[in-house]
Amino acid sequence: MEKKLPNNGPEDKKPTAPQQKPAAKKPAPKRPKLPDVKDDPFPMDSWLIYLVSIIGAFIFGVAAYKEFNPEYKKYQVEFKRLIEMKFGTEAAEKVPMGVQQIWVKDLNRVDRCITCHMGYEWRGLEGEDVPEVFRTHPDLDGLIAKHPFKDYGCTTCHGGQGYATNMKEAHVIQKGKKVRWLEPLLGKEKAKEYKFADWQKMPLMEINCNTCHRHEDSLPGTPYINLAKKLWNEKGCIGCHKLFGEGGDIGPDLTYEGSKSHESFDIHAPYYVIKNGKPVPSGRTIAQEMKRRGLPLSVFSWHLLHFEEPRSITPTSAMPNFGLNEKEKRALAMLMMSWKRVNLPAKYIPKMEGRGAAAPKVDTAAADTTAETADTAVADTTAKMEETPKVSYDPELAKRGEELFDRKGCTACHDLDSRKVGPPLRDVAARRDHEWLKHMIMKPDSMILNDPIAQELLQEFSVPMTNQNVSEEEAKAIIEFLKKAATEK
């Protein structure tokens, strides 16, 4: 080493250090004569120090430059110029600068998309001549009136990383790189990646619509999801799959299929092809099959392959091949992805129109009961009850139920005939079916999260029913008691 660094100062002992050990036995090697430092105005270490400080200063300069010239600044300057051109200097002066954000506390969203997409609510920037990034959000008076920016932010519907303030991170652009963001931007690029013919309409966004609107049979503007829901009913999926505790046991519970992490899909397992009606290994893994078809390696692609032929993924699967076409596969895969576990504050739970409206005309007597129970949504069942008022019950069990009704504290919130914290329960047994009552008594907490009727009731009474640890058999007794109550008026 000494040979390489003839300029070493006398303090620079490091290069000689490794030789110290053998030196213990042998006589210390003679040091080569070093040039006198005093004569060398620029010894090696000072050069190093200069070099490091210059590099440091350079890095510092770059950091400072980046801090003062973030990517979004360029957009903001350009937007200001656009506004000046279109609406004059005065309007342009009011264009805010710096990081802009929509903070939605209830949904825990911080969306800084509007830092660049500054024209999102600026009327008059709808035209094609305006660059897409600045264009007004479409349908401000329809869709956005129902989902105001300040209550929903951007990423609730669009996906993407709301916190990010540069395009690459905000849009989560993959382009060959292995990045697995849980919430990619469901825009045109994503749709193109999955080769949607109608990518221009950003069909993948329907996934996010349905995360909240999952209980509606159909929703305008979501053709794929509507198709999938139709298929779900037609093909009788519920026969094998459970949703919210209802349905068959043969297939997996799909209630929160969309929340399954990607780790639970093994895309490196073998991919099978069906030969003579039997699955045989294709020699490729699922991931390789995805690549072969030009699909991104993702859960969505997994669903696409699985809907095409369930046994090509799980050779022992009992799920039949439904002969779905391309559109139907996509629709169902989107439906699966949309079934996420979300905790929606009450005001975000969609009001299910059509429920009450579809109710048949009720005669005044029935209408009265409806008004009393303050539950218009069930007017139809009430009407039916008027025709068949006979509810049979087991008197023994009902007696036990009455005791339980007291002991479990139901009376704290419910009275038979008048509204307390919760609704009156006199004819609840006639209004709701046995299963619904059982679920509501045993696990009201999960009903509130999942059941549309329970959600409507929560909106009305605003106090959620608590879980009182009622066993199934106790619930039965309480229901018997309620049935008895329904017969005595």
């Binding site: 004569d39 200069y50 400080s53 400072a64 009011k94 800084r112 009327r123």
Partner: protein, 169 residues
């Protein structure tokens, strides 16, 4: 050592010092800057309250923002409804007949007042307290038209004098 070498050394030393102090200063500047965040997780200080022509003549209350907005003869102004004592929402109280009050040396003829329900602070129409524990007047806020939507924007980060008015064209 030759003079020229000495000089060169001095120059380089100075450059080194400059760079060192520059970087140090930058680090401190960065640290100081971090005390003023770009954005916060809090309700926005600027918010829209609707089209000016949609405001009712007289008093308007925005419970979400705890703000009174008054409109009179094409003039609009806003007063915070947050009591300066302990932050209760003050009530707008219309007086049965206008009265003349002497507050802080000025004579004011007023038709309404603000009364705090919590500890009895009372404010005259322009927000000046005249009774109770409230230490400061209710602030008035700056308003302007948002060019994006044509709506009136209140900016609670900018306080304005009590006689400030937004004039409708």
């Amino acid at each position: 050592m030759s003079e020229i070498k000495k000089k060169r050394r001095e120059v380089l030393k100075n450059i080194g010092r400059l760079v060192g102090y520059g970087v140090l200063g930058g680090v401190f500047a960065g640290f100081a800057r971090s005390l003023w965040p770009n954005v916060l997780y809090e309700p926005p200080k600027r918010f829209r309250i609707g089209k000016p022509e949609d405001l009712a003549d007289g008093v308007n209350f925005f419970s979400e923002h705890r703000l009174y907005v008054f409109k009179r003869n094409n003039e609009i102004w806003s007063i915070s409804a947050v009591c300066t004592h302990l932050g209760c929402t003050v009530n707008y109280v219309a007086l049965p007949e206008p009265k003349v009050m002497k507050v802080a040396g000025k004579e004011i003829k007023e038709e309404w007042e603000f009364h705090c329900p919590c500890h009895g602070s009372k404010y005259v129409a322009d927000g000046t307290p005249y009774a109770g524990p409230a230490p400061r007047p209710l602030p008035h806020y700056y308003m302007e038209i948002d060019p994006a939507t044509g709506m009136l924007v209140v900016d609670t980060s900018k306080e304005v004098p009590q006689d400030w008015r937004f004039k409708l064209a």
